[in-house]
Symmetry: D3
Subunit: 306 residues, 6 copies
């Protein structure tokens, strides 16, 4: 679907040389310099992207495809992080997990005096106007585009099917979370990338200004930091601070085995639920479980080390 010309006055765009390097995020109203980003994500145990974001490694991202909201919850609540989960979205492909690194974008209601200044700065530093594609053009493989459009429906459509197609290409199927809307749902439905949005509307994005790229944003009750690991299932989306990723994944291995064993025992039909679950009440069963757990963990680790 074509972005309609009449609306473009809000953002405009110019020809520019190809493959721009990620722009210094200084043209927007809200800025969050690379050093600030590094300071505020100091617990990150991994490398960083060129733009300063923590870079959760690709192999951990792959492992995260087996997570569920509950497995993330188990570790994060234990750490006292109770504000990392957002739900209430329409889920585009309920059976497809969302996993990737948060690339955050913030919009605010347009206000001409402010926008004029921002656009002036953008022209100077970027050589072009600020608009949604300014951020979209910066996406990297493994990114999930996370957008604060403050729940806007009409004119809160971050992408239609063309840009959704582009995001899929650029992020290698990373995904989209928008506290706002999308358009062209018919077209989008045919593209196999996970997406979480509040609503759908035929209007293009408008009456807003791009105010931040890779700044801290709020999605529901979550403060999302650039580089958070984004994990979405049928229920909702978790934003996992990088320092907890390894632990979340390791605990999830145990949970998967626990669930495997629990269901196996239930399937035998000999036990009441409380004899087996949360954990076996009979010491012999407990031992059986612990041996099973050890054996299966070993198998998993061997397989992974190949």
């Amino acid at each position: 679907m074509k972005l309609i010309c009449q609306l473009l006055f809000l953002f405009g765009f110019l020809s520019l040389s190809m493959f721009v390097t990620p722009a210094p995020a200084s043209a927007q109203l809200i800025t969050f310099p690379k050093q600030e980003l590094i300071d505020y994500t100091v617990q990150n145990p991994f490398d960083r992207m060129p733009d300063g974001r923590p870079q959760v490694p690709d192999d951990l991202i792959e492992r995260a495809r087996d997570l569920s909201s509950e497995e993330v919850w188990a570790v994060l609540q234990d750490k006292g992080y109770n504000n990392q989960y957002a739900d209430g979205f329409q889920v585009l492909h309920p059976g497809k997990m969302l996993v990737g690194r948060a690339f955050t974008v913030q919009f605010m209601p347009v206000r001409e005096d402010v926008d004029k200044v921002a656009q002036g700065k953008a022209k100077q530093t970027l050589g072009k106007h600020l608009f949604n594609q300014t951020a979209i053009d910066m996406l990297q493989p493994g990114d999930v585009l996370v957008v604060d459009l403050f729940g806007k429906k009409v004119g809160g459509t971050i992408v239609g099917d063309n840009l959704f197609f582009y995001v899929n290409q650029a992020t290698h199927g990373g995904g989209l979370v928008v506290d706002g809307s999308v358009r062209d749902l018919n077209g989008i439905s045919e593209i196999d990338m996970p997406a979480y949005f509040r609503s759908v509307d035929p209007t293009p994005i408008g009456n807003v200004m791009l105010t931040g790229i890779n700044v801290p944003i709020r999605i529901g009750n979550v403060t999302v930091m650039p580089g958070d690991l984004v994990v979405g299932d049928r229920e909702g989306v978790y934003f996992v601070p990088p320092q907890f990723v390894q632990e979340v994944l390791d605990k999830a291995d145990e949970t998967h085995i626990h669930d495997e064993w629990t269901k196996k025992k239930f399937a035998e039909g000999k036990y009441k639920s409380s004899e087996i679950y949360g954990s076996p009440s009979d010491p012999k069963l407990k031992q059986e479980y612990e041996e099973y757990l050890k054996k299966r963990l070993d198998e998993i680790h061997k397989q992974r080390s190949k």
Copy 2:
């Protein structure tokens, strides 16, 4: 599901000779004589149905099956028609487009003194009581039944599976839009006709009176005129005034080609999104696009003229 007898006192019905011709719409509380309908749809460029409704031609209806909400939006907002879209419905078959001519029906909360007069008039002019089937019996192939039941859930069920089956037969799969509810969802789900409704309830229609057939009605924020082209996708429903149908369809051809080309370029992986979309920034790419557009339009027109 049988319409339960106890409720029928509201509407009742009588034996009548077969194949009644469309009744003069004068028995209802709100009337909109054929001449008024013609006057108020004076911009209609097509023929008219015997009841006076604009008759968008069958071949255009077929072409409209490829439309999306965004393509209709693009033309209508350009004309200043911003009140032609309704959403917030449950969509029965999300992958199936709704297309057809609006056949409008209006209900209001029952009020015995008024209903009694209307029923008296109906008996005189129609030889039978007014009830939902009075309107349903008038449906023609290509019609979409569009019903204002003011969002009513309990007793706001325009049809169950039997009448839904009939509507499908009578309209040749045209479809249903109701600002109200349906019943027998299990049965309805098995019938391959598009339908948009607010809710589902086991009660039959009741505590309402039929107040208008093919009168102007309101669905959400839309004033729907009899004969409007109804177009529904996964997002919602557009009611297109007949005078804009041709332009909507022609512009959509271009958009389809634009999207085709845009995605093809994105798939090459060489461009940032803003270099290609909304329109190519590089003059050479622009020319490439324009040649592609011309070629594909020619192909489409040739194919259509066969």
Copy 3:
């Protein structure tokens, strides 16, 4: 998903000998002794379960798999039972009917002084703490677990995938209705048991106390009695008092035949809807229908008596 240990202080659990017989329901805040249950369901025409609940026979439960909400509505409204239907649920498997005997459970917001007394009583009478699994362990084949968690989302999750798996085993696929939430939706989706819930959340059940097992509870606008026949389709859930089950099923046989015949006539394309439906207006058609009805009923009865 493991029930997280930190939350267990609310309920706790102890080792106990296997296969406990259904506990006397006297440990909970709200009690409903077996004799009371029998008194208040005095119109039950069937046998009773050992716990006193009416036992709708298995063959009627099987026949009930062909019911729809509308068919239950038809009989119950005729009897003046207008408060037996609840909707507004998320339906786990929309194409799969829910049928079974109501096993009711009630929770209330936790209040430590009250809970402490209840837990003390539970230890004495049951030898263990009260928690959700206390009720789940009592489920029998053919039961539907019906839970009043007063619409709670966070901490209102009656089961995750492990316990959902257990409920499926224990009830032989009976099902779940909860005015509250579930967790582990990804895992639950893979288990082929019908379920109706208000929402989904990653938290385990918490901040509540189990206050009643097989007591009268309220789900939406329904007073549910233990042993009611639970019937759920795509629309919602009916709770049928046992004394009406036979009549509901017999009337439904007629309705199925009526719908069969009606659609067959509509498919012939010769009639307006009101000539055939609700009932045929032409005496000859009426007779045709009545003969068809008689013939088909005979066939059904023969087949069933085999």
Copy 4:
């Protein structure tokens, strides 16, 4: 507050000679000729206004100032009129009763093709454009302006403080009920006329077209007929068909006396509530009440006949 010029293109206005007689209601999209109005309100026992509306007499309107919603409910539900009550409004002056004859106005979402035709007709028949003041200029003493603006907030503001002032003058304090909004709440609050509205907004009315004057309209779950007696208290608004006005008022006399006596007995502190209310259980008390009722009714009638 000035109606802002930019918005006026929707309605426009022209100089016209003073004191126009009520216009024939034929310029709007929805028409309801005087004869139709008379036919559909055939049970009206009173005279009629020049425009055909039933004219509930002034003395009955005065007596209606003592009514409450419950007293109207008592008679109307007895007659089977269950759809005459609307609530959910903001009530401007909660302590001030709303009483008068319904003057109904209907708006629908603007649609240029339709509006153009209507405006053309209006110029011919009225010599001016159609807009909200077209209806407001027709108001008579004793009228209540009842407006269907389909719940619209932004641009759904039927009046600001200037026109509210005018309505107060023209109707002699009759009042306003709008399923829409008002503006200038600060100014309106200082004017002592009852008003019921859904919301408040600073925008002037816009993006709508006037589609009917003194036609049947829907307010919430009520079909309002022109000339209905409008009665509003702290709770909501009743629209009383003229044929029931006398009975409502007479029954209310009895209820007032009943309440007077009941509270007097309660104040004595000697009785349990059920000994006195609904009606006295002790035959002696019953007789006491009946004598009191008779005496007080006589007093009232005497006073009224003065």
Copy 5:
């Protein structure tokens, strides 16, 4: 307003001898025998009413008139009682504190088979039908009537102005909290008793059955026990377990003095807020405060001991 006769079939009533002693609560569907009530409120430090409810002393009830929601919150959250507060009510007299002992009543949706049994039991034990006045007749001075009508609006009206007048008399101005509605708001507004309700409707109570008197009930997120101290201000209602009443009141004395002193210091205009509040940062100010606190507490205690 008279309770309309047609509705009374639900409850009915009979003549009965005057001044019945509080009925054994055994006629209702849900029972909570006196011994259970005593067991579950074992921490009660005060005397008990004849019906077993904890009897918070009259002088403490008087002192509680100076409480605010925040002062109750301060103690209860400290004890881990986070589920004792309900809000979202319409507050009848926002400036008037609600204070008293909880007298709880529960209703559930009517179900004829169950209601018939309950009514039969009621006739045997009470000599009359069960209906809302059964409970109302039992009210004692100092009680607050707390009613679970599950949020019902239409037919969920626990009282109109006559019974509200009676409740005021019987409880000596105690008050009303209903998770449901009231009727006759005009009349009720003139009676100076605090009341908290969800909505207002002209219908009398109906389509429900009285299922419990002085049983544990749920109001919003609170499990209310009979005899709880009910405290309501402009914000909402706290249900205070009797064992915490003394501490709540004593802490509130300190808070009142703290606030007095804080505002006095702020009024001097010499300090930033954080220098004084939560507690003074300067040791000299801290001492000044502590001396002030001691002096004022002494004064209060002296005055109280008079």
Copy 6:
């Protein structure tokens, strides 16, 4: 009401020397340096505060007390500023105008890793922890405290009655707008400062972190800039960019006179509404109005220049 100690770990506080000068706003997660503020409010025609905010002069603030939402709307929509109005608040004192300069504060959901860094920075630069009083201590006479607490109710209480008292003192009655809640409503109601909030709750502020002081924030659909003129009436709140203040006030003078004249003419009872309003249709009346306008404007200007 005392801020409860257990919650204070979130913010903490330290003794500090009196009368700190406004802190450099660099300790928070989101920063907006003074130069940025100046750049983005470049159209400000007035002086600036020491912190860089535009300083709408005191006499214009005084004149703004006579404004209404509609008068601000009239100018701002004309300039294309359609996103400057927020409503849906509880208004503390509906009859009291809110006028002052925006002092903005932003909170986000707490996240320990981020908060820890921010608190570390705050200790270094401010010598104390960041918490709500950090911002409150900076308030100046004429300020309105405008707070983004993202609609939070529980734990979203920016102030209780003690701090509300302080804000009143520090701002000289300026006022409060919070997209969140307040506590101690009983106490707050007695303080004569305008306040707009979403809800009320007994909990103190918690589970949030202070992320910005005098940064751009979003309130509803408005981008609020520090130093905007805040104008609130019974309907809602306008945030007026400083560059439009003079024009808004001057146009409002004319509107006041226009309304004065219009009502005067209506009060004469000789005109239909459309003859006088929006503007007089009769040229003679038009002239009369224009002379009246001129005369009254002269009077106003004379009075003001005194």
